[in-house]
């Protein structure tokens, strides 16, 4: 699916450049000029943040073949970390006018809990949103991969962890806002969230970070490590016989994907203005899988395309077909996977092939999505 690894400059990089130019420069410029409304810019900021999450999922699932159903936890850690910081930044400006976040008052907590204290520091909050997920992933990875827990068992295990985390996060005793989560942020890093300028800047930062993450992910999958990862997906046993320490590679990629998820949460929370446990659990984790599969698993562009298109579709459909949208979206999932197992990217590849065939007049058997149906995950 990916082009053969090569050290030399390649055409893919051009696409990254175009993507960056369109989303990081073009869209905000269009917004400034009034062609794109503030609402849509903000909405796209959300999609792009989620695209980073999808990138991480693609690394671990698409490339390495490990289905992690805990990605939403890492996303949640990122979002909650920055959320806590923002809550503290705006403390005292809430309904109650108390120095602790509002939800603590109705939980009868009047002094800031100890684990909240470090989050007054922005550096700590950002660090925690990136490193905490990576750390947690490493711990889970060491405990599972070293134990040769793999395949479905890993998926179900991470699902159980996500379920437990979700259950706990919903409890108000956790002092993280319970079902309500964290909301009513007033400012981020000193910039008021009610000004369009801040939101625009956040959008630009998100787009830039997405491009950066894309480059990082490209670098990983095109390196030797990337090859090993794909080999793990295709035949881990053989790789072990060849003397590779597959567990180490798996832990590495799991940690990277977790850090990307945390990064995504970090950018998501200030733009959307709320983070709740409903974004941290089994169902949202599964949704990430859906995005990647829909866009095209095992290709980085697929992950981006999937995250942005599914979320965009949901926004549009909930507004235009409030009663029918789950049926349309569900039907789309079925259709895309059945007809184009390689997702939207596979569809694009197929179109390209058809075009090429017509152009060259070559009669060749159309091969649907090479490479995807041969391996089991």
């Amino acid at each position: 699916m990916t082009s053969a690894p090569g050290r030399s400059w390649d055409r893919g990089l051009v696409w990254v450049g175009i993507f960056g130019a369109v989303f990081a420069v073009g869209l905000p410029l269009a917004n400034v000029l009034g062609y794109v409304s503030d609402y849509y810019l903000n909405l796209f900021g959300k999609y792009l943040a989620l695209a980073i999450l999808a990138l991480g999922m693609d690394l671990i699932w698409g490339y390495t073949g490990i289905l992690s159903l805990g990605q939403a936890i890492f996303f949640g850690i990122g979002a909650y970390s920055i959320g806590m910081h923002m809550m503290l930044e705006s403390s005292g400006k809430g309904v109650y006018g108390e120095p602790v976040p509002d939800f603590m008052i109705w939980n009868q907590v009047y002094a800031l809990p100890l684990f909240w204290k470090p989050y007054t520091s922005a550096v700590f909050a950002i660090g925690s949103s990136l490193l905490l997920p990576a750390l947690l992933a490493t711990v889970i990875g060491v405990l599972t991969f070293r134990r040769r827990l793999r395949g479905t068992y890993f998926a179900i295990l991470t699902q159980a962890i996500a379920f437990a985390v979700w259950l706990m996060l919903n409890r108000n005793e956790m002092k993280l806002g319970g079902t309500n989560g964290l909301t009513d942020f007033k400012s981020v890093l000193g910039f008021s969230l009610s000004s369009q300028g801040t939101l625009r800047a956040l959008y630009v930062v998100t787009a830039a970070v997405l491009v950066g993450s894309l480059l990082l992910a490209r670098a990983i999958v095109r390196s030797k490590t990337g090859l090993v990862l794909e080999a793990i997906r295709d035949n881990e046993r053989r790789l072990e016989f060849l003397g590779y320490d597959t567990a180490g590679f798996k832990i590495f990629v799991f940690a990277v994907s977790a850090a990307l998820a945390g990064l995504s949460g970090l950018l998501y929370a200030p733009q959307v203005g709320i983070i709740t446990p409903s974004q941290v659990g089994v169902l949202p984790s599964l949704e990430i899988v859906i995005w990647v599969a829909f866009g095209g698993r095992g290709t980085l562009w697929g992950a981006l395309l999937g995250a942005i298109s599914v979320n965009w579709l949901r926004s549009v459909l909930t507004a235009t077909y409030p009663r029918l949208w789950p049926i349309i979206l569900g039907g789309l999932f079925v259709a895309v996977i059945l007809l184009f197992p390689a997702g939207l990217i596979g569809l694009a590849a197929r179109c390209k092939k058809l075009l090429a065939r017509r152009r060259h007049g070559v009669v060749a058997a159309a091969v649907v999505a090479p490479g995807v149906n041969h391996h089991t995950a």
Binding site: W61, L67, L143, T144, R147, R148, L149, R150, G151, T152, Y153, I156, L157, Q159, A160, I161, F163, A164, L167, M168, N170, R171, E173, V282, L283, L286, V289, I290, A293, F294, R297, R323, L324, W325, P326, I327, L329, G330, G331, L332, F333, V334, I337, L338, P341, N373, T376, A377
Partner: protein, 543 residues
């Protein structure tokens, strides 16, 4: 006739309805009492005299007084009925001089009930309930009088006990009497009451016994009260232990029932069917539809709708499963993750389809034979619906086991699942086996959904609440092992229900669930392939 009226107060109504029966001495008294009731000065005295009465005419009189339907009319005291007609205290219609039903003149003022006596009237009225028709109401009335701490209720209760034939109500009456006698001035009376309450292990009497102990001077009564409290305490602990165990087993049965189907589709076939929850939902809606059909066309047999719904749920979910396999899943064998996404999409469609068709407002009524429960010990009831689910889970398990391990078809299924190529070589139609096995799994989910509708909700999201638990059970048990699924379900159920009361606090249910999850996660670390691992290569290559 006269003596009858005088002795048996209840017969008054009959004589009253019988027309112009001569007024007995009792009736005369009542008439006088009524007129005194109408005078503010004597109201309190009369209320005191009537307080111990069990006479239905007195009840009628007091109720009228409370509701403002008692009037002074031409020197008599009359009651205003709901239909606007007037009756006298004995319930006979009042006629005017022309012999026509009398009417109140407009502007007539009802007899006023002094605010200060309102409570007394209410309490007196409550006492009448121990003579009511419905035994359940008599029972709870007896209970209420027992806790009222009102000694004036003792004679009423005693009288009720004389005439009572229903065993449960008799016990309730005796308990109530004992509770009230705890306040008796006679030490022997108190001792008897304490002993009875201790012997009955009556949890309801604990506050009264404690109150007694606080003020009691008689050493014998004190000692007895202390023993009684200990007895009650011990009984409650033992009873609760049995209760928790039953709760655990019944939760285990619920888990088993909903995981059995998954044990087939996921455990045996390795298909991650995210629409499994929706198959469960289909079962629940089948129960609902059958109930509605019965209510509309066979209202006389509505109680037996569930007997029809259960096999029908099996069929409906089975057929939908067959269609799902034929239309979608057969293209995706060997690609479990694509299956996951497609079935997720199918689940979304089914869910919203159900919402659009049925709306969000549906309910399944348990048939009357599954309502309530069996009182195993005082205060411990095993609900019939839970017992039914335990039995159903066992039956489904037995049937599945026979099918898989004791039938030719089951042999085919196991052969295909273990070595597809070899089975195909030997002439087994693997396509057909796949389709039938998958459909069996979904059909079992349908049965589970139908049964769970008895204790839970029927709504489009019902599947989502069960799916994670179901996967957990199957994985913990060991994929591909039926016995593992059973053991895992019961283990999770019982440990959950034993941990829950042990934790206490405001969130026991959640913490128990999290604790069980942690145990499961830890256990899978230690034994990644579950409780009962499948031997051989298949175990490590299931993905």
């Amino acid at each position: 006739m006269h003596t009858l009226v005088a002795v048996l107060a209840a017969a008054w109504v009959l004589t009253g309805l019988g027309g112009r029966a001569a007024a007995g001495p009792g009736a005369f008294d009542l008439e006088a009492a009524a007129s005194r009731l109408a005078a503010p000065a004597t109201q309190k005295d009369v209320l005191g005299e009537l307080a111990g009465s069990s006479d239905p005419a007195v009840e009628r009189l007091l109720r009228a007084l409370k509701d403002g339907a008692l009037y002074a009319w031409k020197g008599r005291t009359v009651l205003l009925g709901d239909d606007g007609g007037l009756t006298d205290v004995a319930g006979r219609p009042v006629l005017d001089s022309q012999g026509q039903p009398a009417q109140l003149e407009s502007g007539a003022e009802a007899v006023a009930l002094d605010e200060a006596h309102f409570g007394l009237v209410r309490r007196t009225l409550e006492r009448f309930e121990v003579f009511g028709r419905d035994p359940l109401k008599r029972q709870s009335a007896a209970f209420r009088l027992g806790t009222s701490g009102d000694p004036a209720a003792i004679p009423v209760l005693a009288r009720a006990l004389e005439g009572e034939t229903n065993g449960d109500v008799r016990v309730a009456l005796e308990d109530a009497l004992a509770k009230l006698r705890l306040r008796s001035s006679d030490a022997a009376d108190r001792l008897g009451a304490v002993k009875r309450l201790g012997w009955r292990a009556s949890e309801a009497a604990v506050p009264q016994l404690q109150a007694l102990l606080a003020g009691e001077t008689d050493p014998a009564v004190r000692a007895a009260a202390r023993t009684a409290l200990q007895d009650i305490d011990r009984f409650v602990v033992q009873r609760n232990a049995i209760g928790y165990l039953f709760n655990g087993v019944s939760l285990g049965a619920v888990l088993l029932l909903m995981s059995l189907g998954l044990a087939v589709t996921f455990g045996l076939m390795g298909i991650i069917n995210m629409a499994h929850g929706e198959m469960l939902m289909l079962g629940s809606y089948t129960a609902y539809v059958v109930q509605e059909i019965f209510a509309a066309w066979f209202p006389g047999y509505v109680d037996s709708y569930f007997v029809v719904a259960l096999p029908l749920a099996f069929l409906v979910a089975g057929v939908v499963g067959l269609a799902l396999e034929w239309g979608v899943i057969r293209f995706l064998y060997g690609r479990p993750l694509e299956t996951l996404i497609v079935t997720w999409g199918v689940g979304m469609i089914l869910q919203q389809g159900a919402r659009l068709y049925f709306g969000d407002q549906t309910s399944v009524n348990s048939p009357t034979w599954l309502r309530g429960g069996a009182e195993v010990l005082t205060g411990l009831i095993f609900p019939w619906s839970r017992i039914f689910i335990v039995v159903l889970a066992l039956a489904a398990l037995g049937a599945l086991w026979l099918l898989l391990y004791r039938s030719y078809a089951g042999l085919n299924v196991r052969a295909v699942m273990q070595n597809r190529a070899m089975a195909a070589c030997l002439g087994v139609s693997t396509r057909r086996v796949d389709a039938v096995t998958f459909s069996l799994g979904t059909a079992l989910a349908g049965v589970a959904g139908c049964a769970l509708a008895l204790i839970g909700t029927v709504d489009p999201e019902v599947g989502k609440t069960y799916i994670v638990d179901s996967f957990m059970v199957v994985v913990l048990g060991g994929v591909g092992k039926l016995v593992g699924t059973v053991v895992a379900a019961v283990c999770i159920g019982v440990s959950n229900k034993l941990i829950e009361p042990a934790i206490g606090g405001t969130a026991a249910a959640v913490y128990a669930k999290v604790a069980v999850l942690v145990i499961v996660i830890w256990f899978l670390q230690w034994r990644p392939t579950g409780l009962f691992a499948q031997r051989g290569r298949a175990a490590t290559e299931t993905a």
